[in-house]
Amino acid sequence: MLFRNSVAQGLGKLYAAGEIIFRQGDPADCCYAILEGQVEMSYENKDACWLSLEILEKNEVFGTTSLFGDMPRILTARAVVDSRLLTIDKSGFLQWIQEDPTLALRVLLSMANRSHRLIEQIVQLQQNLTGRDNHVTT
């Protein structure tokens, strides 16, 4: 017996570095858990310019916002490095949240943390813009 060669290929699905996981405007029927790797969330404006909003790490769950209220994806998700993701089906996720108040609390906390981070970014951007305007004025 030899156990040297591991045959386990791991759970989830592999996304190569740079691969798009979902695009802004796509219908949302699932969310994702990052098993390995990093995922960038970005926003594409009318001029096809990408604004990178955050980089998510292992253990984070993303793509949940669009599941509430049947909204399309509001951001684009892209693998930064080779990443392994697990898809969580919308129907199951919404059912578990209804049945399990502690999971609902966890999701709320995660959304609150993300919203805090985004507010901080907005404030920072505004300060940068104000600073630049002041610099231009002076």
Partner: protein, 443 residues
Amino acid sequence: MKLANGSTVAIVGGGPGGTLSAIFLLDLARQLRLQLSIDIYEPKRYNCTGPTGCNMCGGVISESLIQMLAAEGILLPNSVVIDTINAYILHTDQESARIDAPRQEMRIATIFRGAGPKGSEHQLPLPWQSFDQFLLQMAIANGARHLPYAVTELSREQGFPVVSCANQPPQRYDLLVGAVGINQKKSLQLFEALDFAYQRPQTTRAYVAELYYGAEQVQQHLGHAMHVFLLNIPHLKFAAITPKGHYATLVILGDHIDQEVIEQFFAAPEVKKCLPQGWEIPVQPCHCQPSIVVGPASNPFGDRVVMVGDASVSRLYKDGIGSAYRMAKRLAYTALAHGVAASDFKKHYWPVCRSLLWDNRLGHLLFACDNLFRFFPLLRQAMMAVLRRERCQAEGNACPLSSAFWNTFTGSATYMHIAGELLQWKTLWNLLSLLRPGRNSHH
């Protein structure tokens, strides 16, 4: 009667029911800014190979549980995931049909509950990790204390549960959680002797064996698919062979599974196709005949005491660990948000058990229908033809029968949901239209 800052909890049993209860209790307590002290009593050593270090089951983590754990932030490391499954192949005595995962993704894991099959210790250090050990370590990392002692007595002192072990002073707790496995007869007796009229659930016997094929042979003969057999062998209800790295796990369910049934099973031509050529059945493979739950326990809670996992209610035949997960979650919520009196458990914990109970009744009915497929060749042929047709038309089309079978084998949906899929007019029409002799021949 509520858990407060500094409350103490004893969990008897360190399998998934116990460790998940500890993890969720500690997690919620942290969010509520409470300090809990949790002791897990588990004498079993998960680093031992063979049945002594194992909690004895088929070792498949369902699609729904994998997703629930991930949503909760519990990711199974690759060392715990021995193999992955993305298809089921249904074998009858006439033909086989493949049912692929709805998403082309690996979302079912096969695991070892203990350190590995008997005999694998010759290859130390083993490249894999026990699933139960992983959860126990996670509970310890979250703040639980592991006490490797066998509990010898359970009693009460001024209404509080007291846990006694040999050569240890008795410990009084605010809450006692019974997370003992259904095969731990002595521990179950201790809970039955306590004052809340608990009675263990009804059980039947299963046969589980770990068969060494070698990794290449496992891939060649099983691939990433679980092979399910609906064969017309007396006393055999269900059999499955699951890939597990270098091993293939055989699970047989039925009444009176003895050596004769096992030999008949291995002699079936459909089974031989899943065995390596020239492979001989080992004389003494790592095997066990564990009890599995087929009925509910009576009175699974009282004041300051509650049973969780198999010792309470478990999903019929499939996804016992998933049932333990749901109960552990609800237990943590009930104990910390509402209280630990019998009335609190009845109001907030029991509904989860009750919904499993009702669903299991439907499960019994569905498994009884399964006999129709096994004993009526015409119906079986029609079923296989519908599965084949659904597979050919799968792209963008609803496949209710394949989905019902997928959910039955994987334990990913409730029996209520599965019954709904089977009773869809499309499924019934497809089956009925193929029932006429001559219509369901191979194309």
